[in-house]
């Protein structure tokens, strides 16, 4: 069942003469984990701003074509209504957190919805537990590490119980272990709770294994859209200049030398296993 659909969607910022993206037609199904990537300035962040209505309602500008989110035509519904279906997590959690305790930050969106006190408490506790930061609930967000702050930002979105969560480069300020923990939290939201995930990310080595689908944008257009293996192995992915996973890269290097490993690997584990098999097989 589809949750997001765009048809020939084109958007131009108010002061700009050139569209930030054009003719984007994509369909995302409920429960999918989509990895959206492409060079800086390709239009991916701008596209994400349409999913919860920041475009066109906040940024104005010119939006052409069709966009439906959770059965709602985005231009016809205000941000506060769309925000109950789609949550947005930003690159830098400092831009999102402001309260004096983690718990208050996570409760803020719910208070604005005017929910009863008991339900707010229940949802806040639940979101803190799912993201693994329940122990930090009384701490001030600004005292926390970057990775912990990003989990607070995710919890505050999760508490709204959206059907879709969009994360715009959520790990770019984090060290590798911090990033891995964030990806694991996101994966849990997707696999356990069935939340549709749209993850904008450059670190494809770490993120690819979680995704059902990869969409690559370049110069305002969607240039590739498909299963991670099919997308990463295509020559176009390399031409666009996205850093394909090393496992896939190694597969391609070996293939150029006349060595076929069979299936295209995207994780280190898959690549190791396939190379082991090739080494053993050749010996016999």
């Amino acid at each position: 069942m589809e949750i997001i659909r765009t048809e020939d969607l084109t958007y131009t910022y108010p002061i700009s003469s050139k569209p930030a993206f054009r003719d984007v037609s994509i369909t995302i199904d409920k429960g999918e984990f989509v990895l959206l990537t492409g060079p800086s300035g390709c239009g991916k962040t701008t596209l994400c701003r349409c999913f919860n209505g920041l475009i066109p309602h906040f940024y104005s500008g010119k939006l052409e074509g069709e966009i439906m989110v959770a059965g709602l035509r985005v231009p016809d519904h205000p941000i506060h209504e769309l925000a109950q279906h789609v949550g947005l997590v930003f690159q830098n959690p400092e831009n999102q957190l402001f309260a004096l305790s983690v718990e208050k930050d996570v409760a803020f969106g719910l208070e604005n919805l005017g929910l009863p006190r008991d339900e707010i408490r229940e949802r806040v506790d639940w979101a803190l537990k799912v993201t693994g930061i329940y122990d930090l609930k009384d701490r001030a967000p600004y005292e926390l590490s970057g990775g912990q702050q990003q989990r607070v930002a995710i919890a505050s979105i999760l508490a709204m119980r959206p059907e879709v969560i969009v994360l715009d480069e959520p790990t770019s300020f984090l060290d590798p272990l911090g990033a891995q923990k964030i990806f694991e939290v996101i994966d849990r939201l997707n696999k356990r709770l069935g939340i549709t995930i749209i993850l904008v990310e450059h670190r494809l080595d770490l993120a690819s294994k979680y995704a059902d689908r990869v969409i690559i944008m370049n110069e305002g257009r969607v240039v590739l859209n498909g299963r991670p293996r099919d997308v990463f192995i295509s020559d176009e992915a390399q031409l666009v200049g996205v850093g394909i996973p090393k496992a896939t890269m190694l597969y391609k290097l070996l293939r150029e030398n006349g060595i076929e490993l069979g299936r295209v690997p995207i994780t280190a584990e898959e690549a190791s296993q396939m190379i082991r098999e090739a080494l053993t097989h050749d010996r016999g």
Binding site: S40, G178, D205, K246, L250, N257, S272, R276, L279, D282
Partner: protein, 276 residues
């Protein structure tokens, strides 16, 4: 040359960020200081241009103790590009930003113009000359910050987390740029937890954890050592992780020090052909 001798540093809050660091960085070296957030990397390099002074021990730049020199004197030799360009940029235009330090160092007007032109061109920023840095994207602002430091041609260049927020192509450009600067004789020190970037650049690696240096040397030795890498709370390079899965296989010793995917491709091709 940078000489660090038994350096300790404690922040006023009481946090002991550095606990006995001794190391030497010679002129013309390319060094990556690595470790997780909070390991003390940035605290260490802030001692190199005198922004921080040792609580105990000493730091000497070309033989001069940093407690005996002002930040302004040290900055002439040691250029520091911050992680977040917004902590560095404040002028109305990109041109003003780049000429600011040059004016402070007392360069004459013609020299300033030449150097600004040179730096703008070098970092592909000429078209933004008269634009406010705050109108630019994050990646572009990082380039402005770098240009404003390169403009006065410091002999030592420190880049704090230069790859954050940069896409694949920008990282490639940055890597070429650093290699080029280093080839011209500049000492380049990067502070980073981007192990993939380091695996491609292959500089000398200084690995830090909890305010101490836990390894210092050849990246092929350090980045393929799972114990060291996990002590620093980092993750092995992806290529090394693939090759670790081949341990115990015949000839896999040939792959034990490989961090680069192209090298892995060459050796594996040879191994698979040998056996075929």
């Amino acid at each position: 040359m940078i000489e660090v001798e038994d350096l300790y540093f404690t922040y006023p809050s009481g946090v002991e960020a550095l606990r006995g660091i001794t190391l030497t960085i010679r002129d013309g070296e390319f060094v990556a200081i690595m470790g997780q957030n909070g390991a003390g990397k940035t605290t260490l390099v802030k001692h190199f241009n005198g922004l921080l002074k040792p609580t105990k021990g000493s730091v000497k730049i070309d033989g001069v103790d940093t407690t005996k020199a002002s930040v302004a004197e040290l900055a002439r030799k040691v250029g520091f590009v911050f992680q977040n360009p917004d902590h560095q940029l404040f002028c109305e235009t990109v041109e003003d930003e780049i000429s600011f330090a040059l004016k402070n160092f007392g360069f004459d007007e013609d020299a300033i113009k030449d150097r600004v032109d040179w730096a703008l061109n070098l970092l592909d920023l000429t078209r933004y000359r008269n634009i406010s840095p705050f109108m630019l994207s994050g990646g572009e602002r990082k380039r402005v910050a770098l240009a404003s430091v390169l403009a006065w041609d410091p002999k030592i260049l420190i880049l704090d987390e230069p790859t954050i927020g940069q896409d694949y192509e920008q990282k490639e450009r940055l890597r070429n740029f650093i290699v080029q600067l280093n080839a011209q004789g500049k000492t380049v020190i990067i502070v980073t937890h981007d192990i993939e970037f380091v695996a491609e650049c292959k500089p000398r690696v200084i690995l830090m954890a909890e305010g101490r240096v836990i390894a210092d040397g050849d990246p092929h030795e350090i980045l393929t050592n799972p114990n060291l890498v996990s002590k620093a709370s980092l993750i092995l390079p992806e290529t090394t992780r693939i090759l670790l899965g081949l341990r115990g296989m015949e000839q896999s010793g040939r792959l034990a020090r490989v961090i680069d995917v192209y090298e892995a491709g060459r050796i594996l091709t040879a191994m698979l052909r040998d056996q075929g």
